[in-house]
């Protein structure tokens, strides 16, 4: 099970306004959307549901809208995920419990053949970050959003978004350095 796979290149942002098949676009950006959705949902299945809804709505009705498609989709996904989380919270569940608990349901890690120690250490450290730091980090690194977009997305001041990002990196570095020292 892997959250992330190592690659040596990055993908340029494709133009969703242009004529392009949904599959091409989704194969490129779907993994990022799913990863971000996982920050706000209790399970991979929930994340897939909110991504599915948001993407279908986007592709049918919103892709001609001006603006950054990825940011628009992430906004939609986050709202849907939070609505779902509120419904779930009424049943006494919490996102952190799910993230920290059932590893089989995380869907964050790939097949054993793909996993190496370093990647596993990073993933593990990511999951231990406070959720408000982790979501900023994920939106910045894999969501490819600017700090301004993240601040808008999370409805926090820009400086707060930037600070959380720095705290997240510092915590990750601390965790990974510790892991290296011990292992």
């Amino acid at each position: 099970m892997t959250l992330i796979r190592q690659t040596t290149h990055s993908h340029p942002m494709e133009d969703a306004h242009a004529e392009q098949s949904w599959k091409e676009w989704f194969e490129l950006h779907g993994p990022k959307l799913l990863l971000c959705a996982r920050q706000w949902t209790r399970s991979r299945a929930d994340a897939e549901d909110v991504v599915q809804d948001a993407f279908v709505r986007f592709w049918r009705r919103q892709r001609q809208l001006p603006g950054e498609p990825l940011a628009l989709l992430l906004t939609s996904i986050r709202r849907a995920a939070l609505d779902r989380a509120r419904r779930e919270s009424r049943r006494g569940a919490r996102e952190e419990d799910a993230l920290a608990g059932d590893a089989d349901d995380l869907g964050l890690f790939g097949t054993a053949a793909e996993v190496d120690d370093r990647r596993r250490a990073i993933e593990s450290a990511l999951l231990r970050l406070p959720s408000e730091q982790r979501e900023v980090l994920v939106l910045r690194i894999w969501g490819e959003l600017t700090f301004a977009a993240i601040a808008h997305q999370l409805d926090v001041p820009l400086n707060t978004a930037a600070s959380r990002y720095r705290y997240a990196l510092a915590a990750l570095r601390h965790e990974l350095t510790g892991a290296d020292c011990h292992g």
Partner: protein, 160 residues
């Protein structure tokens, strides 16, 4: 960001999120009406298959309940005197539909499709907002109900 962070950021950027599941692709394909290659059995949503139902049913139920409940007169005690004409007013339906409007919001030509019998057809998907207004002639109160609606038109094409 200091150099240590830059190094870490670069390392994180080199990690690519795991690919999405085949099941998710199939569900999206089904919703977008485009078959995925090797079309396997239809895969349903993970949860909330009928989640749209409340959004359609609830406004209708609320509108009906409102229309029925609002004009109801307070219960009269048996034998209570009623002014002339009051019985007629109370018996009359309070809210009456006075206007209905279908506003076309968007129309998208989805191109040609092949029907089950092999006929070629053109599919057009249109989104509307239907607005219905009721008025109570006695109190002049009005009730407006708007509901989004999607309509798919499939028109067979023949080449002659």
């Amino acid at each position: 960001m200091d150099d240590d962070f830059r190094e870490l950021e670069a390392e994180l950027r080199n990690l690519r999120p795991a690919t999405v599941s085949r099941g998710l692709l199939e569900r999206i394909a089904r919703e977008l009406d485009e078959p995925v290659s090797n079309g396997s059995a239809a895969v349903g949503r993970n949860h909330d298959k009928g989640a749209w139902v409340p959004w359609v049913i609830l406004p209708i139920a609320a509108a009906i309940a409102f229309a029925v409940a609002l004009p109801r007169q307070p219960a009269q005690s048996p034998g209570a005197a009623e002014p002339d004409g009051a019985r007629g007013l109370a018996a009359a339906p309070a809210f009456k539909p006075v206007s209905a409007q279908n506003l076309l919001v968007s129309s998208r030509d989805e191109g040609y499709v092949t029907l089950a019998d092999g006929t070629r057809a053109r599919r057009i998907r249109q989104s509307y907002v239907d607005t219905i207004t009721w008025k109570n002639p006695r109190t002049k109160a009005s009730l407006t109900w708007s509901l989004p609606r999607e309509e798919v038109r499939v028109t067979p094409i023949s080449y002659e």
